[in-house]
């Protein structure tokens, strides 16, 4: 037996002759850690399928090669991939299992995703609308029926927050409004956006503009108006 064959041996459901002393102990230890991680990763599937059926699936997963990932926390992802591609004597059961393990893994998959990198371009919330008015129409009320027309238009942003499913609004100045318009036309990181804005809006104090842009960025990101790394 080649030493490397020991790896496949440790996945076997039943012991096979191996020249390594106490090889069967290694088989039991290896199988045990995989049964453990998969039963812990998919408690709902385990509950729905029952221990025996879930155990049979794990056995088959191991018999057919086991995990291909060298990262132990990613073994459940390999199990899902196997379940998706595998042929199973009980096809209906496997279909059911495929659906439940996928559903159960979604929260972990989402949590495991890396946060956006500062090197990735920002994106405006796709529902975001921009309007500008010389007349502050949003302030019209019985007490204030005719607010004065202003020299510069007021810029209003409105978007739907994906978390709360509510509409958010924000008023920004004309310069900031123009700067936000840059994001819609180019793929920019936060720093590239700030630099582009400073190059474009040359009539403003650079430090004040940078500070205002950072504050707007932070505020919009926190309210899901803008998707970007902090």
């Amino acid at each position: 037996m080649k030493t490397d064959d020991l790896v496949r041996f440790t996945f076997a459901k039943e012991p096979v002759p191996v020249s390594l002393e106490r090889a069967d102990l290694y088989r039991k230890l290896t199988r045990s850690i995989h049964h453990d991680i998969l039963r812990i990763a998919f408690p709902r599937t385990l509950e729905l399928l029952g221990s025996e059926a879930m155990g049979a699936s794990i056995d088959q997963f191991l018999e057919e090669g086991g995990p291909g990932t060298l990262q132990y926390p990613r073994v459940p992802d390999d199990f899902i991939e196997w379940a998706t591609e595998s042929q199973h004597p009980q096809a209906d059961l496997l279909d059911y299992e495929r659906a439940t393990v996928r559903a159960e893994r979604h929260p972990a998959e989402i949590d495991h995703r890396k946060a956006p990198s500062p090197a990735e371009p920002m994106a405006l919330n796709p529902t975001l609308q921009v309007s500008s008015h010389f007349r502050p129409v949003h302030e019209i009320s019985p007490d204030n029926p005719d607010p004065p027309i202003e020299t510069n238009p007021r810029v209003y942003l409105a978007w739907r927050c994906p978390i709360t499913d509510t509409v958010a609004r924000q008023r920004v100045g004309l310069v900031i409004g123009r700067c936000l318009g840059l994001i819609g036309t180019q793929a920019l990181t936060r720093e590239e956006w700030i630099q582009e804005a400073l190059d474009t809006e040359t009539g403003n104090d650079p430090e004040s503009l940078r500070s205002a842009l950072l504050e707007t960025h932070r505020d919009l990101v926190s309210r899901s108006g803008l998707f970007s790394a902090e």
Binding site: L20, E21, H34, L70, H112
Partner: protein, 282 residues
């Protein structure tokens, strides 16, 4: 590490486990000198895992210790994994990287268990070649850990200490000395642990691991990291330190987690040995 500038005593750290996260992060920073993490638990992950790592980095120096290179195997290296690993090492600023003298994967399957290798000269040469290859991809020094074992191959021709020595000399790498593994193997295979320790290439040691293990009814010792450290294992640590120098010492606990106070008692026991060996308690 703290000890390099503040004292001669070895720094003492803990192997980070998520089950211990909140109690560790709630403890005074002075409780530990460093944390050790397995990169496989963080590479490519965002979310909670990365936030935990960031919180650890805010408080302690981080050492990285791997589980998955399968140094004794024959599978080609996963270049994307190695790239991620190198970036991770730079990110956490670990002073060295280590993995185990074992087999864990073959033909694309990963057992996630540390399987023993035949203790032969041919296998030592193979390991040394692989270690040299992998060392060349890393921005920092590389070390190998002696594993615990429950069985031996019939073709064995070297003692474990001689095997480890041959690998380290040929590969020109460091040793991560696990004194618990050494004790477990000495007991499981009927050797004197002290003699085995004395034959190990301790001058190459860059770090030490210490832990407890489980004694089965049939007398076999299993490296579970689930029990307190035995006095015999502390004795091996004391015996090793004069030759290893004040290298970082790591307490490992992977199961049957006790209250943090009990782990801190073990940390203090290790620190006391370090102080005594390096004369700070005299």
């Amino acid at each position: 590490m703290h000890a390099e500038t503040e004292s001669m005593s070895p720094p003492v750290g803990l192997g980070f486990r998520r089950d211990l996260a909140e109690s560790i992060l709630g403890a005074p920073t002075s409780s530990f000198d460093f944390m050790e993490v397995a990169p496989e638990n963080f590479l490519g992950f965002g979310g909670q895992r990365r936030r935990l790592l960031a919180r650890l980095q805010d408080r302690w120096p981080i050492l990285a210790h791997g589980l998955a290179l399968s140094l004794g195997g024959h599978d080609p290296w996963d270049s994307s994994h190695l790239d991620e690993l190198a970036a991770f090492m730079e990110e956490i600023e670990t002073p060295h990287y280590s993995d185990h003298l074992c087999l864990s994967s073959a033909q694309g399957s990963h057992s996630h268990e540390l399987l023993p290798l035949p203790l032969t000269r041919e296998k030592a040469r193979h390991l040394a070649d692989r270690i040299r290859e992998i060392s060349g991809t890393m921005p920092i020094p590389f070390a190998v850990e002696n594993i615990s074992a429950y069985g031996r191959w019939p073709e064995d021709e070297l003692t474990e200490a001689d095997f480890v020595t041959e690998v380290i000399e040929r590969a020109d790498c460091g040793l991560l000395l696990d004194v618990n593994n050494l004790f477990v193997n000495a007991s499981n295979f009927g050797f004197q642990a002290e003699e085995m320790l004395d034959r190990m290439p301790l001058e190459a040691t860059v770090q030490i691991h210490i832990a407890g293990h489980t004694l089965r009814q049939d007398g076999l010792r299993i490296d579970t990291h689930a029990e307190p450290i035995l006095d015999d294992v502390y004795s091996l640590l004391r015996r090793a330190l004069p030759r290893t120098g004040p290298v970082p010492i790591l307490l490992e606990r992977d199961d049957h987690f006790p209250p943090l106070s009990e782990l801190l008692e073990e940390v203090e026991a290790i620190r006391k040995i370090g102080r005594e060996v390096f004369h700070e308690d005299r």
